[in-house]
């Protein structure tokens, strides 16, 4: 069986959902890879630490030590960028001005719940800005490997881990395809090249409906 898309290819597919002029917040890890995708849209990237309008990560020796994104990477600023303090940065989030947040997660359910802050048995967690973003962004895209390292599904009927927010996920991108949570099932909108619908169903912990206009993901 094909394992489908590489990590950058998953991010590329999701980044093609961005629309011109959107204010986008990318989570740490795979979501940040969406900023590598060559897309012909004008995006304003927002980071939790108050950077509005960041550009690419700068190479060694060219970094500005006063400037990082939410992942702590030394980024640049695009013309027109602005800096605000943390309370204003989250005012932007809570007031619904973020068009989409892209979050790396542990698991997602077909009712739109997802979990990404606490692993099983942990005494504490790492929430960062994820709960604010998940509760308040206009759309929540999540990006993840379809199965855990030991082959268990991460697209589920119900989340097993403590949730980050309920019923908020609008789009899911995995190595096997592009999905939409539909309440009691996942809608498979697009499928990775070389992967069959039966393979997707076998790897998913909830019913999968296949879109009538199912397409194969076009890799860049």
């Amino acid at each position: 069986m094909s394992t489908g898309l590489e990590r950058q290819q998953i991010a590329d597919r999701l980044a093609q959902e961005f629309r011109d002029g959107w204010i986008v917040n990318l989570g740490v890890g795979m979501p940040t890879m969406c900023s590598n995708t060559p897309i012909d849209t004008d995006i304003i990237y927002h980071s939790e630490n108050g950077v509005i309008g960041s550009g690419p990560v700068l190479p060694d020796g060219q970094e500005d030590v006063h400037l990082v994104n939410a992942g702590g990477q030394n980024v640049s600023l695009k013309p027109g960028a602005a800096i605000v303090h943390h309370a204003d940065s989250f005012a932007i989030i809570r007031s619904g001005r973020i068009d989409v947040t892209v979050l790396g997660i542990y698991e997602v359910a077909c009712n739109g719940d997802f979990a990404n802050w606490k692993v099983a048995g942990a005494n504490g967690g790492g929430i960062g800005g994820a709960m604010d973003l998940a509760a308040c962004a206009k759309q929540v895209f999540v990006i993840l490997e379809h199965a855990t390292r030991d082959g268990k599904p991460r697209l589920l009927a119900q989340c097993a881990l403590p949730v980050t927010a309920r019923g908020v996920v609008t789009t899911i991108a995995t190595n096997l395809g592009l999905f939409k949570p539909m309440g009691d099932r996942f809608l498979l909108r697009e499928i990775a090249p070389g992967v069959s619908v039966d393979e997707v169903r076998a790897a998913t912990g909830a019913p999968v409906e296949v879109a009538v206009d199912l397409r194969v993901i076009r890799t860049l």
Binding site: V28, S47, E48, N49, G50, V51, D60, E63, D64, V65, H66, L67, V68, G72, Q73, N74, L77, I83, V84, H85, H86, A87, S89, F90, I93, R94, N116, W117, K118, V119, A122, N123, G124, G125, G126, I127, G128, G129, A130, M131, D132, A135, C136, P162, V163, T164, A165, R166
Partner: protein, 248 residues
């Protein structure tokens, strides 16, 4: 009688009288704006039973600058209030975890925007507020919520603190502060939430009037003590932030 200068000669002098049991907010996000020199001075000063308010406690990277995790390891911390109290990856390790697991340190996990707004509210004279963040999660279990306009919100309380440690780019001798780029982060709101604000400053102090009033990020009315960071190696000047190292 002339007012006492806000400019202190050393970090040790600036933190000398911080009592045991203080609540201290630490500015900074990743490296920019972290008061590394003041944290190091507090490690030497030794105050105990502290409540530390911070985005994260640090220590996931191999090459550590002074961080809250070191205060924890030094036995100075009773409680941590942070947006990260455990690593987000199961394979990562942070120093705080062992102390929380052994019951030596209490960790209160707060979503980052709620942490910022609790500090902002404290500095703004607002005792509590409602936020949509964390509704329906484990963090909201058993807590007061209220519906406004058909949506459920969670009651959160302001978080006033005794002391704030900040790092700024420029300051005048009256305490007006400028931060550079993402160095600003939590620093201005922590300044307003605290009774005693101590700032490490990167550039030489300038005379009042040398900073345009329109440019000031934090008014000097919020600032009590400042120390100029000496050049390296005596002063701590972080460079590029090291990539996180996964430790088993």
């Amino acid at each position: 009688m002339a007012r006492r200068s806000k400019i202190f000669d050393s970090f040790a002098e600036a933190v000398a009288d911080i009592p045991d049991g203080s609540s201290i907010a630490f500015g900074g996000f990743a490296y920019p704006g972290v008061p590394f020199n003041l944290i190091r001075a507090l490690l030497d000063q030794g105050a105990k039973g502290l409540t530390c308010i911070t985005n994260g406690t640090g220590g996931a990277a191999a090459d550590r600058m002074p961080d809250i995790g070191m205060l924890v390891e030094n036995g100075q911390v009773a409680k941590v209030i942070a947006a990260f109290t455990a690593p987000t990856r199961a394979s990562d390790r942070i120093p705080l975890t062992k102390f929380v697991d052994e019951g030596k340190v209490v960790a209160e996990l707060v979503p980052q925007g709620t942490l910022a707004e609790r500090l902002r509210a404290a500095g703004a004279g607002i005792p509590a507020f409602f936020t949509p963040t964390a509704v329906g999660t484990e963090l909201a279990a058993g807590r007061e919520t209220r519906r406004f306009g058909g949506r459920e919100y969670l009651l959160e309380y302001a978080m006033p603190v005794d002391v704030a440690f900040l790092r700024a780019w420029k300051a005048d001798s009256s305490g007006n502060l400028l931060f550079r780029r993402s160095q600003r982060n939590f620093n201005p709101i922590m300044a307003m939430a605290a009774k005693l604000v101590i700032v490490e400053v990167e550039e030489d102090f300038v005379e009042p009037g040398a900073i345009d009033p329109d440019e000031v990020h934090t008014s000097g009315i919020f600032v009590q003590r400042m120390v100029k960071i000496p050049p390296p190696p005596e002063g701590l000047w972080p460079g590029r932030r090291p990539e996180r190292v996964l430790k088993s």
